[in-house]
C-alpha cells in the first residue's frame, strides 16, 4: 500500500441486485486498486478487491490478435450488419446508459435483444404481465414490514446484506426494534446458510412450490384442504394454516421470491401463484411481493428495454418494429434453435452457464464481446473489447432490485473505455453501414433515420 490513497464515500456495489450505496472505499491510486471496502459483504469485498487493472491486457482484439479500438469497432459493426439474425444479449452488469445504446444498435440492425433476465426472473416477468404485481420499495419493507417471507432463495449467500440492510434486522419507522418486530419465514427445499434467520422454516418436497402456494391461496380464502396435503407437498396442514393466519393478520407482509420458483418445473406458473397469493391477501391487509434480483443492474436492463421497446426482454426487431415472444426470441432459444448467425454479448458469459446445445451454437457463430475480464465467452470471440468496470471505474445509472435508480460514484480511472463509449462507436458505424445498404438496394428519396442516441 502506498500513501497516495483516497476515500470514496457512499460508493455503490454493483455485484448483486441489492446495489448497496453506502460503501466507503479506500483506493490506492498508485496501484490502481481498492484496498478496503467498508460496509461491503463477502461478495462485495471480492467485487471491489478483484476488479483491478490488468495493464497488459489488450483493449481490443480480433480473432485473438491485438488491434486498435477503431479497427475493432469497424469489424464489430461489419459483423453485425452482415448477419441475417444478429442477437444482442447480456446487459445486466453494465449501466443503463450502455443498455440504451445496445437497444439502439439492435433496433438499427433489425436484430434480436434479450437480457440475462430471461434466464433469471424472466418467468416472473411473464407472471407480472399475467397476474400483476403488488409492489413496494425496499425502504417501505424496512420501515413497515412485520411479516417477511423468503421463498425459493438463499439470500445469505446470494444477497448477503438483504437481511441486514433492508428486510430482517434494520430498525424502521414502524419496526423500531428491528428483528424483534418481525416474523421471518423461509421456504426452501434444503437447509441453507439463510435458515438460521428464520423464525419459521418450511421445507416442501422438491418441485411442489406451486401446490403449496395454491393450498395457501385456498386457506386464505377460507376453503378447507384435504388431509393428504402433507403427503402431496411435504408440508403439514397445521403449518400451512398457521402461515395463512399470520399472513392475513400481519400489518404489512412481503413475499420475496427467488430462482427456486423460476428455474424449476412450473416456472412462470410458480411466480404467478405467488403473485396471486399476495394480491389475494390485500383483501385482508397490506401485502407485497418482490423478486430478489441477481446481477447489479438486471433491473435496469428490464427498465431500459421496456422504455425503448415496450417489452422487458426477448424482443425482436426483424420486421422493423419490436415483437415480444419468450420461447422464440429469448437467447437460449435463438441459440439452441440455431437461428442466430451473429451475437453481441455485453457484460455476460453465456458460454459458461447456458445449456450445452445453446453454447455449441454460440461457439459456431461470430461473437462480439464486451467484458471487463476474460471469460469462456470472450475466449471464443471474433471481436473482443476489454472495458472498464461500472461503479468502480465509470459512473452511470443502475437500478436496485426494487426499481430505485442510483447514480454510481467511480473510485479510480481505467485505461480501458467503458461499455457505453464502445457501444456508441458501434452504433454510429452501424448507422452509416445500414444507410449505405439502404441506398445500395436502389432506394431513393429522403430516408428518416433517427440520430444515434
Amino acid at each position: 500500500m502506498t500513501e497516495n490513497t483516497k476515500i470514496i464515500e457512499n460508493a455503490t456495489c454493483t455485484f448483486c441486485g441489492c446495489v448497496c450505496d453506502d460503501m466507503i472505499l479506500t483506493v490506492d491510486l498508485d496501484e490502481k486498486k481498492i484496498i478496503k471496502s467498508k460496509n461491503a459483504c463477502v461478495l462485495g469485498r471480492a467485487w471491489f478487491a478483484e476488479h483491478t487493472i490488468e495493464e497488459d491486457a489488450p483493449a481490443a482484439m480480433i480473432d485473438g490478435k491485438e488491434v486498435s479500438i477503431e479497427e475493432a469497432i469497424e469489424e464489430a459493426a461489419q459483423t453485425l450488419t452482415k448477419a441475417k439474425f444478429p442477437i444482442t444479449y447480456g446487459l445486466s452488469d453494465t449501466t443503463c446508459e450502455a443498455q440504451r445504446q445496445a437497444v439502439a444498435i439492435t433496433d438499427r440492425i433489425k436484430g434480436n435483444i434479450d437480457t440475462t433476465t430471461s434466464v433469471c426472473h424472466g418467468p416472473s416477468g411473464l407472471a407480472f404481465q399475467g397476474v400483476g404485481e403488488s409492489t413496494s420499495t425496499l425502504g417501505e419493507v424496512k420501515n413497515r414490514a412485520d411479516l417477511v417471507i423468503y421463498w425459493g432463495g438463499n439470500p445469505a449467500e446470494s444477497h448477503p446484506r438483504h437481511f441486514g440492510r433492508y428486510a430482517v434486522t434494520p430498525k424502521g419507522m414502524f419496526t423500531p426494534r428491528g428483528k424483534k418486530d418481525r416474523t421471518v419465514v423461509l421456504v426452501d427445499v434444503r437447509k441453507t446458510k439463510s435458515s438460521p434467520v428464520a423464525d419459521i422454516l418450511i421445507r416442501p418436497k422438491p418441485g411442489k412450490d406451486f401446490e403449496v402456494l395454491w393450498a395457501l391461496r385456498a386457506l386464505v380464502k377460507g376453503k378447507k384442504l384435504s388431509d393428504d396435503i402433507e403427503e402431496r407437498t411435504g408440508v403439514p396442514l397445521a403449518v400451512l394454516q398457521d402461515l395463512s393466519d399470520r399472513m392475513k393478520n400481519c400489518r404489512f407482509g412481503v413475499l420475496f421470491f427467488g430462482m427456486g420458483l423460476t428455474m424449476t418445473r412450473g416456472r412462470h406458473f410458480n411466480s404467478g401463484a405467488l403473485l396471486a397469493l399476495a394480491t389475494d391477501l390485500n383483501e385482508f391487509t397490506h401485502f407485497v411481493a418482490k423478486p430478489v434480483r441477481g446481477h447489479g443492474n438486471v433491473t435496469g436492463a428490464d427498465n431500459v428495454v421496456s422504455w425503448q421497446t415496450g417489452y422487458p426482454f426477448g424482443v425482436n426487431f426483424s420486421r422493423g418494429y419490436p415483437r415480444f415472444n419468450p420461447g422464440e426470441f429469448t437467447t437460449v432459444d435463438t441459440l439452441a434453435n440455431a437461428h442466430a448467425d451473429a451475437a453481441m454479448i455485453i457484460a455476460s458469459d453465456p458460454a459458461s452457464n447456458f445449456p450445452k446445445k445453446a453454447i455449441q451454437h454460440l461457439k459456431s457463430i461470430p461473437i462480439v464481446v464486451l467484458d471487463t475480464k476474460c471469460t469462456e465467452t470472450s475466449k471464443d470471440a471474433h471481436v473482443a473489447f476489454r472495458t472498464s468496470t461500472y461503479g468502480i471505474n465509470t459512473t452511470g445509472t443502475v437500478y436496485r432490485m426494487d426499481d430505485v435508480p442510483i447514480t454510481l460514484r467511480p473510485a479510480f480511472e481505467s485505461p480501458f473505455p467503458d461499455d457505453e463509449t464502445i457501444l456508441k462507436g458501434i452504433n454510429k458505424r452501424v448507422n452509416e453501414l445500414m444507410l449505405a445498404k439502404h441506398y445500395a438496394s436502389g432506394a431513393s428519396g429522403e430516408v428518416k433515420v433517427a440520430a444515434p442516441v
Binding site: 434466464v119 438463499n154 446470494s158 428455474m263 419468450p326 420461447g327 429469448t330 450445452k356 469462456e376
Partner: protein, 115 residues
C-alpha cells in the same frame, strides 16, 4: 452402480467470490466442480469426501468431486452444486416457451468413479 437423484445448481458464497477472481481461474473451476451430497447417501454409495462421481442424464455428463453435508440440511435424493460449466453440461435447452431452461431440479444419474 448408479443412483438417480435431483440436482439443484445454485449460488454459493464461494462461487460468488471466486467468479470475481476470474471464471477461467482454478478457484472458480474447483468451486463449480464440487457436489454436495448428504452423508447417509454417500455412505450408501461407498463415497468419502473428495471422491469423484460422474453425473449424467439425457443431455450430457460431467465429472465432479463429492463432499458431504448433514442429512438434516440436504434431504435424501437431492444433491447441490454451485452453478457453472459442469452443471451446464447437464442442462437441457428446452425452455417450454418461456425462455428459461430447467436449471434447477434436474434428474441425474450419479455413479462413483473407481480410482
Amino acid at each position: 452402480m448408479s443412483v438417480k437423484m435431483i440436482l439443484i445448481p445454485g449460488r454459493s458464497s464461494k462461487q460468488g467470490t471466486s467468479l470475481n477472481v476470474g471464471k477461467l481461474k482454478d478457484e472458480y473451476k474447483e468451486v463449480t466442480s464440487t457436489l454436495e451430497m448428504n452423508t447417509d447417501e454417500m455412505a450408501k454409495m461407498g463415497l468419502v469426501d473428495g471422491d469423484k462421481v460422474r453425473l449424467s442424464n439425457e443431455t450430457g455428463e460431467t465429472t465432479v468431486t463429492c463432499i458431504g453435508k448433514k442429512p438434516e440440511d440436504l434431504p435424501d435424493g437431492m444433491v447441490f452444486i454451485p452453478y457453472g460449466p459442469p452443471s451446464s453440461e447437464l442442462m437441457a435447452s428446452d425452455t417450454a416457451g418461456c425462455g428459461m431452461p430447467l436449471s434447477k431440479h434436474m434428474e441425474v444419474d450419479i455413479e462413483k468413479i473407481s480410482t
